[in-house]
Symmetry: D2
């Protein structure tokens, strides 16, 4: 019996569906996660390229947009265990080039750019409240990496009972094995998986 | 270049190490996750068997112990998106056999048994505060499933800056592909991986 | 200059207003907080009496209802600092009469009864997610005590960006000085204050 | 029977005591909360003056120090309900003079300065994890205002099971009625109250 069969027999992998009003969450699409010498590589550049289309559609449909950046204080003032497991994270300080959103997806002045220090965009941030204030019930998740901050953010979005959609061609990872393995886990248990074109079409239908 | 090489070159996979005082967290070792007709199967029975040794060592060394159970209210009063992705979860009510800790690991009357509704043992629970009150800096994680509630709990334990140890032969999953893939992710980014025998030896050294 | 003038000059005390869909949160209306020999007294019985009307209106209008109870594990397994400040809290165990919702407000089988160990109904619970799943944007808060668990829950409801309404004749306290002082603080900074009759009229208008 | 008698009879007001290792939390001692034309006034200048002594003692004894600032994004990108209740809060942007720590208490380069948007220093921030990483069990709270962000932070510090100390002559408020009322509530239920001199003496004893 295949892994998928095991999950199907136990009732995993159902579709939760879209809700009525979405936000777009762009997880850690910053220079450092698009630089193979730092934390990038793999299919991340392709995900950024596809995300340009989705971001344009979000803006066109007045969908709330939130970008995340990993930002640590200088001098290790807020360093913790994550920086022990991955010491290079500490280069991601407020002014560092590596911690700025990639130029292909530059935030507009009125869009929210959220600082975080942990994998999940919800952990130690006010993202849940930001979504509540905007009457959002559905979170569209894109970004890097699939097996890291995307996965952690997806688990928390679902745990807060937001309908959670992973946009499969807008998430990327430095290595493809973990990318695929985490898409499997998320699709079975936490999120619905859809391609960018499907999500754009949904956004446009909702806006009319 | 292998996945492991990619991660190594980017500085992932460092050891965070043990701290000074541990707690043992047993994630969802309940009947329903040990029953292949519900959510069990794979190497979960073997993980339970090994955990008997670790639980005995924790008790012998006065290490704080916390068991988790997934518990939903009757009549869907607290059902959310997780129950849309995996509808059978709603059978796990307070009195159901499926939501009781397995008999091999029966909690003692003075041990903490935590109810939860989401993957992470920390989400919507007072586990962080429980650990703080007990001056714990290191969380030893065992349970089921590796790719589900164990992984989610490990990410949160690390995000709260607890040294996090996954006891590799005391975690299990219904399917081995996700089990292995998630051990890889956790070892690279969130936790140190050790076998039961190593952790028991550490507990005994600390206690003397 | 009076306290109220100081606050007014600094722009506090604005009305946030109601949103579009409310939930009713009944904080700790349990026997122990209605018993002057335990944690009750003052105007708590009057608040319970008025709340009967509001609960009936909530049920009539299909407004989601959540009751909270303070529940500690037996044998101090989850005791913390709150139990050091107020040691009698530890009598509030799962089966204790003192920790059951008062008979005047008995929950129906399909209503949510939330266990908590800390002042706020949101702290270490899944209440935020429960509200999100029900597409709530407005939380109507009643219960006991005004200066304790009501105040803490109101601060968190507002921090999550729910429109927060304190129903002034449905909250009570063991002593009137703290009751009044906390109504002032909440009205200035965190919540709109309205009487029961006003809130019932709003619920009925929304439902039509 | 006085309010204090009511509380005493119900077992409130016990001392939780100090733990073994403290951090100093300075809540919102920023220019805007020391300016009577914005959110300041009352006894806040006196609290800042006394806090200079406590901050010096914390530095001398290598006690971890955390300053908080209220910081909102420009253009209302993260505004929520708090800004509806107190609309002037939105002036507190990253670069605004009003949102910088007062010059009497300038943070050193290696001290942690935490941005927050809600009353509690813990809400939507990584403060709990920061304290855990530093093996802190006791939080010394100073700042402004007693009835606002200090109170909210104290409730959360206690809810996370940190021993919580309010330094009574190092907290201040724009109006004295709420200052006194909130010291009463906190002392009865959430924190031990001590003067600066007592806390400094404790810090020095612990350090030897």
């Amino acid at each position: 019996m295949s892994d998928t069969d095991v999950y199907a027999r136990q009732g995993f992998g159902a579709q939760a569906g879209f809700g009525a009003r979405a936000a777009l969450l762009l997880v850690d699409f910053v220079n450092g996660f698009n630089d193979p010498a730092l934390f990038g590589g793999g299919n991340i550049p392709a995900a950024i390229e596809k995300t340009k289309l989705l971001l344009a559609a979000a803006r066109e449909t007045a969908t709330p947009v939130c970008f995340t950046r990993v930002v640590y204080a200088a001098h290790g003032a807020d360093a913790g265990v994550f920086c022990l497991k991955a010491p290079k994270l500490s280069v991601l300080t407020e002014e560092a080039h590596a911690s700025q959103v990639v130029s292909e997806l530059t935030p507009r002045a009125d869009e929210y750019v959220l600082r975080k220090t942990q994998p999940s965009a919800f952990f130690g941030t006010d993202l849940a409240g930001w979504l509540i204030a905007r009457k959002v019930d559905t979170v569209l998740v894109v970004g890097a990496t699939t097996s890291g901050c995307v996965r952690a953010s997806v688990v928390d979005a679902m745990s807060y009972n937001f309908r959670t959609i992973v946009v499969t061609d807008c998430v990327g990872d430095r290595a493809l094995g973990p990318h695929e393995a985490n898409l499997f886990d998320m699709g079975q248990k936490y999120a619905d998986l859809h391609e960018c074109a499907h999500v754009i079409a949904w956004l446009k239908r909702q806006a009319t």
